[in-house]
């Protein structure tokens, strides 16, 4: 085997290679179709460009995907309630802050309340999954359906608007800062999570519980607590995402806030090369997956694909990306390559 082949193998073997490869491919399409896609300028004192949009708009998805990754890794199941929990947390936050000219309670309490609600919802999910041993999808289905209902109860079925201008900062820009605030929040969430997982043994614990909960128990890990904590963390992320979602539109629309975002979050985890069966996981992979999803949406907008055809294109690209990462397909391609080369060798021998 030549040296270049070895290098290629090393690169393609890197666990983030395929997720990154897919993201690059999606972006490369733009290079051909809309060359202005990569332009970044400063307009009105803030950064302006499609790439900024991609990062900005994918922020809440990144945050949710981080939480989802841990849930998937620890329990081998998905938390389908994150979208509804975001709406719930956002509704509580806005309800507590009030819709008057000034806040009813200090802003920071509103934020803490939203995060707390998220964590509580996560704790409920975690209790059902880790302690009661209910299938994750069924357990989280409860809040998936109830979450929006509770949010509707809180808002009285109306869209509540916050009139205080500073409420918009979280979802838009801080004064004097050219980068959208959601990007900062996403970066902070990712860094803090990675640090916790790397600096403590929690990452390893989650992985071992996900691979084999019984074996983990035998070596002295409390699988129940670890699964429980991963759901709490996922709920907490949903609360933070809910804050961004509501701040972007400075209002809570309980029907539409975070609608279907749980599916994108699960997809982000899958696109990041993580197994949905639990065990080994990569936060970075999920982040790349989340950015890929948003890059795809923004690219299709930029290419002016009409609204009725949009879902078709999305589906096709997702199929291709998932297929590219499928181990079976890789095995099959390897098999074909080996077959080809042996045929070549045979031909050479015959000659």
């Amino acid at each position: 085997m030549s040296k270049t082949q070895e290098i290629v193998k090393k690169i393609t073997g890197y666990h983030l290679f395929w997720p990154l490869f897919c993201l690059v491919i999606v972006l490369l399409f733009n290079l051909i179709k809309t060359p202005t896609f990569f332009d970044i300028t400063i307009q009105n004192g803030v950064l302006y460009g499609y790439l900024i949009d991609v990062l900005n708009r994918s922020s809440e998805l990144i945050i949710l995907a981080v939480g989802m990754t841990l849930v998937v890794a620890a329990s081998g199941g998905t938390d389908i309630s994150v979208g509804a929990v975001s709406a719930f947390a956002g509704a509580v936050c806005i309800f507590a802050l009030g819709t008057g000219e000034t806040y009813q309670i200090p802003y920071i309490f509103g934020v803490l309340l939203a995060v707390l609600i998220g964590a509580l919802c996560g704790a409920w999910n975690g209790f059902l999954v880790a302690k009661m041993k209910i299938q994750p999808m069924v357990a989280t289905l409860i809040l998936f359906t109830a979450g929006r209902g509770i949010a509707q109860l809180i808002t009285g079925g109306n869209i509540l608007y916050v009139k205080v201008d500073s409420f918009k900062r979280l979802g838009a820009f801080l004064p004097g800062v050219p980068i959208p605030t959601p990007i900062f929040i996403a970066v902070i969430v990712v860094i803090v999570t990675s640090l916790i997982l790397k600096k403590t043994a929690l990452g390893l614990y989650i992985q071992s519980v996900g691979i084999n909960a019984k074996a983990a128990k035998l070596v002295g890990l409390n699988a129940t607590v670890i699964q429980f904590l991963s759901y709490v963390f996922c709920g907490l992320c949903a609360g933070i995402a809910g804050l961004i979602i509501t701040s972007r539109i400075y209002s809570i629309d309980a029907n539409n806030a975070g609608l279907n975002i749980e599916l994108d979050a699960i997809l982000a985890v899958a696109l990041g090369g993580n197994s949905l069966g639990g065990g080994k996981f990569s936060i970075a992979g999920s982040v790349i997956g989340a950015i890929t999803i948003q890059a795809l949406t923004t690219s299709l907008y930029a290419m002016k694909v009409t609204a009725d055809q949009l879902p078709v294109y999305k589906a096709i690209v997702v199929i291709i990306i998932v297929a590219l990462q499928s181990p079976e397909l890789k095995k099959w391609m390897k098999h074909m390559r080996v077959k080809n080369s042996t045929q070549n060798v045979e031909r050479v021998v015959e000659q």
């Binding site: 202005t36 307009q43 009105n44 004192g45 803030v46 302006y48 460009g49 499609y50 949009d53 708009r57 964590a119 509580l120 919802c121 704790a123 409920w124 209790f127 109830a146 209902g149 509770i150 109860l153 079925g157 109306n158 869209i159 608007y161 838009a172 820009f173 607590v225 429980f228 709490v232 979602i245 972007r248 539109i249 209002s251 629309d253 029907n255 539409n256 806030a257 609608l259 923004t298 907008y301 930029a302 002016k304 009409t306 609204a307 009725d308 949009l310």
Partner: protein, 357 residues
């Protein structure tokens, strides 16, 4: 310590869910109760009328009993729709209204209609949850010779004699009205003959409002060769998507003179996107919107929106008129559109106090 904290959290969430369970339960129960108590009302009246003089009996005879099955209370628009029915179909106006909230479920509506038939109401009014699945129950109403008025959404039945008439919005006309206002406004600005680029934020693809408004706007603009639709994308009727798509529109390299948003919420999102890049909404980009909800009037007063074309939920008066006509044995038109206004920014301040939704 940790364990205690965890168990405390758990306790809290459980209490929380239990509370929610309690508070949502009465809400669910309230509908049947409501219908029950209300359906009892006419029965009580009958027993009353037996004892007093004949006048009272005459009075109940004169009242037209209407059974109204409403979708639910999912939006301000719907609440205003219900309110309009309740405030118009009163005893003073000669009606006895039996109201049933279906909570967004067709099976509740079918049950309500069957109740209405067994109570022998004079007219059945349905605001359908879905378009399909009405044949059987409307057949029963027809057999009982009870006229049926459909409001808001249309129903899809093979035999249109199953209902007497339909009352609702003409989304296509709304689209045309918007273009009429727009061209007049641009003429007024002296830009009527300029080459003008239009961006359209569509609603949820396939919804009747989106189909009608898209077609209305397109057909309207076709008559003016200097207007061209350069960008068109769905914002799914939400503010968040409206903002996201508008951000993308702004970077497309196309000059945008006019934005047509197919509902107010998307327009709000688009306005934010414009403001973020330092463009002045309603000045740099003319903003045309639909629905005319209260918040849109506030936005117009703030000078950020130019016009909103109404989607009128106040079906009550028209339904009352129709019910009376039907009871008098008059023939009525099958399709009845409600009147819808166009509200430009300069009338917003005086109109706002009169808006109910």
């Amino acid at each position: 310590m940790k364990k205690k904290l965890v168990s405390m959290l758990l306790g809290l969430t459980m209490v929380g869910t239990a509370l929610v369970g309690c508070s949502s339960a009465p809400a669910e129960n309230s509908t049947p109760k409501e219908t029950e108590t209300k359906t009892e009302a006419p029965a009580k009246e009958e027993t009353k009328t037996e004892t007093p003089a004949e006048e009272a009996e005459e009075k109940t005879d004169e009242l037209i009993t209407i059974g109204f099955s409403q979708v639910g209370a999912e939006s301000d628009w719907r609440v205003a729709n219900t309110e309009s029915m309740k405030s118009t179909l009163t005893e003073e106006n000669g009606f006895n209204l039996i109201f049933a909230d279906a909570q967004q479920k067709q099976e509740n509506q079918i049950k309500a209609v069957r109740d209405f038939i067994s109570q022998e109401v004079d007219v059945i009014v349905i605001a359908p949850v879905t378009e399909t699945g009405w044949e059987t129950v409307l057949g029963e109403a027809k057999d009982a010779e009870i006229p049926v008025i459909i409001v808001d959404r249309m129903i899809d039945v093979s035999d249109d004699s199953l209902y007497t008439c339909w009352v609702g919005s003409d989304f296509y006309q709304e689209g045309l009205d918007a273009v009429d206002w727009l061209t007049e406004y641009m003429d007024g600005l002296g830009r009527g003959q300029d080459q003008l680029n239009v961006a359209v934020l569509q609603g949820t693809i396939g919804s009747s409002a989106e189909i009608g408004r898209t077609k209305g706007v397109r057909d309207g603009l076709q008559e003016h060769s200097n207007y061209s639709i350069v960008l068109e994308q769905t914002g799914e009727f939400t503010q968040a998507k409206g903002q996201e798509v508008m951000e993308s529109f702004l970077k497309s390299g196309e000059q945008i003179d006019i934005l047509i948003a197919q509902n107010d919420n998307m327009a709000f999102g688009a306005i934010d996107a414009l403001k973020a890049v330092g463009k002045k909404p309603a000045e740099d980009v003319v903003i045309v919107s639909f629905d005319a909800v209260k918040a849109a009037f506030e936005s117009m007063i703030a000078g950020e929106m130019n016009v909103s074309v109404e989607c009128n939920p106040l079906h009550g008066p028209r339904v009352a008129e129709l019910a009376k006509a039907i009871m008098n044995g008059e023939e009525v038109e099958k399709i009845q559109y409600v009147e819808e206004g166009v509200f430009p920014a300069d009338t917003a301040a005086e109109m706002l106090p009169t808006r109910v939704y």
